[in-house]
């Protein structure tokens, strides 16, 4: 669809193409990719300037899913924000729940019983597996395999989602963590089912890798594409697998040693080149490490209460103060900044979204590559629009 006159900024849907006169290099094309685009993972938009097929400029445009989560949270009680955090990163509600609960516990100085700590690790790692499996599926969608790997990923996802549903009552919006513990105690049957699923998971991963990792098209399309150099990545605040793919050893599970992670034996996979292929491999390796953590956790899960007896649901008022709580979400550092003025509502509630900040260097990563590569690079960064725009 080529229109002579460009639509006003922020109003075009679908690719609007306009010509920019440049006598030296011929015409540059300005293409608006998104917000409705099959491979922008939601309503993300990139204003791309192209020289032929090569990207010379790329400006991300946000806000198409800006749902005012922070404003709503500042007008409601601490507890009422918990179900909203599910909807931030809607693929990984369990770890977002935990991040928020952790920040509030830090703000109010609450303790968490051992069993709940272990359960949180279990659920966060299951979430990481779901997220990474789906991400790999979506990444291959962007590479043009159209659905097959995604079907495999969703087959496994459904099994884990069923576990979440049996535990928390909802497939995606778990609303499971509470300040000072967890909401529902899993039954022994649930734990047995989860443990069995985790034990079987490496088999799926092997199958998945046989199908995908050696694929020549994957290698050709991802190796050397979208390189990120570690110095820039650190300065740009990139976190999570994207940062570790360029070789920076910074995993909050090790650095902050939050929760009960120091009690588990696991390694942090690191990449070397910082390209799209490394980011893909990082997800596969992290899933294997998560399986290791889970297997240990199911062995040592203690009996006991899951809620701090002092915790209360209604009328929760933390003392005045501020805090920043963060954890290693599947997408990177997920933080909650909370400022309390002693009332039941937070005075300031801020989400530090890893998806948004990981996009800081998108332009640098895409320059010099083709449009098709930009889609793959975006896919390998792993964004969820609910979190980007909040």
């Amino acid at each position: 669809m080529i229109t002579a006159a460009p639509a006003p900024f922020g109003q075009s849907s679908g690719p609007t193409v306009r010509r920019v006169n440049d006598p030296l290099h011929g015409d540059l094309l300005e293409v608006s990719m998104g917000p409705q685009h099959p491979s922008t993972h939601g309503v993300f938009r990139m204003d791309v300037t192209l020289d032929g097929e090569v990207i010379v400029k790329l400006k991300p445009v946000f806000g198409y899913l800006h749902r005012n989560h922070e404003k709503i949270a500042e007008n409601t009680s601490y507890l009422s924000s918990m179900p909203y955090t599910d909807r931030l990163d809607y693929l990984c509600s369990m770890s977002t729940n935990w991040a928020y609960a952790m920040a509030v516990e830090k703000l109010s100085g609450q303790a968490v019983p051992d069993r709940a700590q272990y359960l949180r690790v279990i659920l966060a790692e299951l979430t990481r597996i779901v997220n990474h499996a789906c991400l790999v599926g979506f990444l291959f969608n962007d590479l043009g395999t159209s659905f097959t790997p995604l079907l495999y990923a969703f087959r496994e996802r459904e099994k884990i989602i069923d576990l979440f549903e049996a535990l928390s009552g909802s497939r995606m919006m778990c609303n499971y963590q509470r300040f000072g513990g967890c909401r529902v105690d899993p039954t022994p049957e649930w734990l047995a089912a989860a443990s069995k699923l985790v034990d079987n998971f490496p088999r799926f991963l092997d199958e998945y890798e046989t199908m995908l990792t050696g694929n020549e098209i994957l290698l050709a399309r991802t190796q050397g594409v979208g390189r990120l150099d570690p110095k820039h990545a650190v300065n740009a605040g990139i976190t999570g697998p994207v940062l570790r793919a360029c070789g920076v050893n910074y995993d909050l599970r090790k650095v902050d040693a939050y929760g009960f992670y120091p009690r588990f034996d696991f390694r942090v996979p690191l990449g070397e080149h910082g390209d799209t292929y490394d980011r893909y491999m990082m997800r596969i390796l992290e899933m294997r490490e998560s399986v290791k953590i889970l297997q240990q956790a199911f062995k040592v899960l203690p009996a006991g209460p899951i809620m701090d007896p002092k915790a209360k649901l209604r009328g929760f008022r933390p003392k005045p103060g501020e805090t920043y709580g963060r954890l290693e979400g599947p997408k990177g550092e997920l933080g909650f900044y909370l400022l309390s003025d002693g009332t039941p509502n937070p005075y300031r509630y801020r989400v530090r979204p890893p998806s948004l900040i990981n996009l800081t260097l998108l332009e640098e990563m895409c320059l010099g590559h083709t449009v098709a590569d930009a889609v793959v690079i975006l896919g390998s960064i792993d964004i969820v629009l609910g979190e980007v725009d909040r």
Binding site: A166, M173, N175, E216
Partner: protein, 218 residues
């Protein structure tokens, strides 16, 4: 060899394709309208109001219109109007009751906070999810008649939780009865001592434990 990776991948898909006819673990499709999904007990969709009996749901609603759920509901989809009079609930206590109790399921986010916070075990989460409607207002706004479901139904969807709730309520009721008896005995003793006190209205029932309803939001 160039292409061996692709061939390996195709072998996997071929295995899965054949397996999807024979291997049970690869046969994942649920024939939904014919086969009902197996919902876990914890599954929650929209709220319901528990009434003690199916015959007289409005008369035996557990809800006492305390409006805690209305206040705590994050998307504010509950609307309650309190009654001006009181009537006895299932245990015989005089309680307020909701004249209007409406839940807008077109807004409800199914978070389950209302059920979690209800001190009277009155509002619980239903498991009905086939609620597609062609009219947003008439179809998706549920009033108390539509929300009321009997305790037997609650038992049928959540047997474990419902049994727990029933046991707790029975214990409360017994405690309340014992207390009422003690109070009545004490009163009788006092009355006997005074010997002249006129038999006033029936005792205003042991409402000691009933939480004070919060003032209306408006």
């Amino acid at each position: 060899m160039l292409g061996s990776g692709i061939i390996k991948g195709l072998a996997v898909t071929a295995k899965n394709f054949v397996g999807s006819y024979f291997v049970p673990e690869r046969m994942v499709t649920e024939q939904y309208p014919e086969d009902r999904p197996k919902l876990p007990e914890n599954y929650r969709s929209f709220p319901l109001l528990v009434s003690e009996t199916a015959e007289d749901p409005m008369g035996t609603l557990r809800c006492v219109a305390c409006q805690i759920c209305e206040k705590e509901c994050p998307p504010q989809c509950i609307y309650i109007e309190k009654s001006k009079d009181k009537k006895p609930d299932a245990t015989g206590k005089m309680q307020l009751y909701p004249v209007v109790f409406a839940i807008d399921t077109s807004v409800c986010m199914s978070c389950g906070l209302c059920a979690e916070l209800c001190p009277f075990d009155s509002i619980k989460m239903d498991q009905v999810f086939e609620v597609a409607a062609t009219n947003r207002f008439a179809g998706l706004l549920l009033n108390r008649e539509q929300l009321a479901k009997s305790n037997a139904y609650y038992h049928s969807i959540r047997p474990v939780e419902a049994a727990e709730v029933d046991a707790r309520l029975a214990a409360d009721r017994q405690a309340a009865e014992a207390k009422a008896k003690a109070a009545a005995a004490a009163k009788a003793a006092a009355a006997a001592a005074k010997a002249a006190a006129p038999a006033a209205q029936p005792a205003p029932a042991p409402v000691a434990e009933a939480p004070k309803p919060p003032s209306p939001a408006a």
